[in-house]
């Protein structure tokens, strides 16, 4: 997983940062050109998902895999709960609309917290 992150994830991250610094990603491009930063940004997330999926498939240590799976399940449950509640609050004008792009970071944050808690639990 580390090799894949280093040779696939990191170059994509660098390309994303370079695009952001140069300002290409901030609506300076029009028409077909605007799809490039969008695709590049999404590619980073998709690459991370695929790399992590491959890690889960290849991990031989059942305990480590189980810890990650448990953390991911907590992440799924909590993310969907937050989104559902937030969506209802938005409908009744009690909160501002949450952008779709924040779903992944929210999921990652909850999963990382769950992983940490599980690690402490089984230390």
């Amino acid at each position: 997983m580390e090799d894949r992150m280093l040779f696939i994830g990191m170059p994509l991250l660098v390309a994303n940062i370079a695009l952001a610094i140069w300002g290409i990603g901030y609506r300076h491009l029009h028409a077909a050109g605007a799809y490039l930063p969008a695709i590049l940004f999404a590619l980073l997330g998709v690459a991370f998902i695929v790399i992590f999926g491959l890690y889960l498939k290849e991990e031989q240590d059942e305990f480590q895999r189980d810890l990650w799976v448990q953390a991911l399940l907590w992440g799924i449950g909590a993310t969907l709960t937050v989104i559902t509640l937030w969506g209802s609050l938005v409908e009744f004008e009690l909160a501002k609309g949450l952008k779709l792009i924040f779903v992944f970071p929210l999921f990652m944050l909850i999963t990382c917290i769950a992983r940490l808690v599980l690690k402490l639990r089984y230390r």
């Binding site: 969008a38 940004f41 999404a42 991911l72 992440g75 559902t84 949450l98 952008k99 779903v103 992944f104």
Partner: protein, 137 residues
């Protein structure tokens, strides 16, 4: 007559679905029909919070019930099929939401409401459960 004995966790899941989720959906439907959800009564303050909570409660309860089922299920194979399906679903949902979110940000793609994330997750999970069952048939 079928000689198969079902899993107790599955029975409990079905009971919880019947006695918790269904009444919550009925309550949701009643609120919707009476116009609370459709702003006919312009709910505000505590009433709006109550309506928002009531609207989201069946789905949140369903998430908790699935979690309880996973914790109680003794059949490792059934649990593994469900967990695999959920992981496929979250992978696909995050991929689609990240892609669409970045399209919204950079290419002025039409705004997709956050509520669609749950439906997308459920749709992919159902397809993944079907695919996994077919794979291990």
């Amino acid at each position: 007559m079928s000689g198969r004995v079902g899993s107790p966790a599955k029975y409990r899941f079905e009971d919880r679905f019947l006695f918790i989720i269904v009444p919550l959906f009925v309550l949701d439907g009643i609120l919707g029909i009476w116009g609370f959800h459709y702003h006919h009564l312009h709910p505000a303050g505590a009433l709006a919070v109550f309506c928002a909570t009531a609207q989201s409660s069946p789905i949140i309860a369903f998430i908790f019930i699935i979690g309880l089922y996973l914790a109680e299920e003794k059949d490792e194979f059934q649990k593994s099929v469900l967990v695999q399906s959920m992981l496929w679903a979250i992978g696909a949902t995050l991929a689609v939401s990240t892609f669409w979110g970045s399209m919204e940000k950079y290419s002025q793609a039409p705004h997709m409401d956050i509520a669609w994330v749950q439906f997308l997750f459920c749709a992919v999970m159902i397809v993944a459960i079907g695919a996994n069952r077919w794979r291990y048939r």
